[in-house]
Symmetry: C2
């Protein structure tokens, strides 16, 4: 069976996360139902990141095996036709070898977190950002973020239900860009990159860094929390709607030019 | 009665436009209901631009008269509390003189139109952009736009129901910026500025320019359509969801620093 890699964009709001559930809508089920319209026997799909309820994707990568060969463009068009009206879109498709695995072959995941600080409620971006009312100082947040870069035991920033074998991960990038937000206020765009992440790691870090930006925590307290290796030392876990899986990297880009 | 200018942001989707209707939700009614919660006798409000069904605002300006004086910050907070859960927010407030009139004192309105060209359906921006599937050439659109700049009889680009006394308007700015759109494709951001606009003028122009970008019209045909001064010479009027009233200018900025 020919194998295809799919780059997928979705709005997380209507879904109980990526992974198929028996009784709740999921992105995986939505995609598989579209696949079954073009290939009733298609086996389950795999994805690079099993995003949580309400988390968005701009560049999720999935793979599927199909009974017959498709040109990538026609496969993308057919799936998008059957995905309507769900807010899930295939933005790129490519035929790949049998050794390609969306999850196990990935060497880097990148996430964006959109955190908006302003008094007035957001209107157009409701469900697409996490809004806080108070001012945030990005400089102290960057100072705190530096303590989290590199290889650490991230037990503090890991959900109790996390199934990863080890809490040791290497955070390769944590950038915080501040841009002015339309209508007043500031948007902080936090970019995370790592080979892989623990469950709730990004949201645990963002929730903690927000406390730093608001002046409630110091950067040193973040370092101490990391060193405690204790889930109870973590700051509040932030809500999911500001989080986007933006990019998954492989040894060779399956969608490469 | 002290008078206040309000800068307002809203998502156009749930509203039948700005203006109050007897039997349909409007932004004006939503704002007036919030005002009546803090001042039951507040008279009707006025706005700089009476946006149509589905059209958004980032910087609509309105004015209202209230029985008692408010600090601008407390007025903004009180109104935002009562505007929930509607996607309407007061992003700035200022006390102004009795001679300030949101509509009649305005000397410039600016609109942004977001036009996305890509094959795969948009997910996060559904209702926030106009999407077309085909490629667009911004260079020929800019060439066509040049013919529309300046003072003209815009009868061709005016809705039949337009109530303006004269079809002669001066279009001061029509810029077209092309930016890459996340997940592939291109977003064209069209910026319009004029003292005032005719009914459906922006959407008539955008719909016509899209035909130019797609190769169906030439820039010269746009000039000929303008010179025809005939509504039937207009291209298709584009849908409203890509349109944003972004800024209203007054001789002195009421929200100025």
């Amino acid at each position: 069976m020919p194998r295809y890699a799919l780059k997928i964009e979705y709005h997380g709001q209507p879904f109980r996360g990526w992974q198929r559930q028996s009784d709740q809508p999921s992105v995986q089920q939505t995609l598989e139902e579209a696949l079954h319209r073009i290939d009733p026997d298609a086996p389950p799909v795999f994805a690079a990141g099993r995003t949580d309820t309400g988390v968005h994707a701009l560049g999720q990568v999935s793979h599927c095996d199909l009974a017959r060969a498709w040109t990538p463009f026609r496969l993308m068009e057919a799936l998008n036709a059957h995905l309507r009206p769900h807010p899930v879109a295939v933005v790129a498709a490519a035929q790949v070898g049998d050794d390609f695995h969306a999850r196990f072959a990935a060497i880097e995941r990148r996430y964006l977190f959109r955190l908006v600080s302003r008094r007035a409620p957001v209107t157009h971006d409701a469900g697409l950002v996490w809004q806080v009312r108070g001012a945030l100082d990005p400089a102290v947040m960057r100072a705190a973020a530096k303590h989290l870069l590199g290889r650490h035991d991230f037990t503090t920033f890991r959900a109790a239900m996390c199934q990863a074998k080890s809490p040791v991960k290497t955070l390769d990038r944590l950038d915080i860009d501040a841009v002015s937000y339309p209508g007043g206020g500031t948007e902080l765009r936090l970019t995370f990159a790592a080979r892989s992440f623990l469950h709730n790691q990004v949201r645990s870090i963002v929730g903690t860094l927000e406390r730093v930006g608001a002046g409630a925590w110091t950067p040193d307290e973040v370092r101490a929390a990391l060193q405690a290796r204790d889930r109870t030392a973590c700051g509040p876990v932030c809500p999911p709607q500001g989080l986007y899986l933006t990019h998954v990297r492989y040894p060779r880009d399956p969608f490469g030019v």
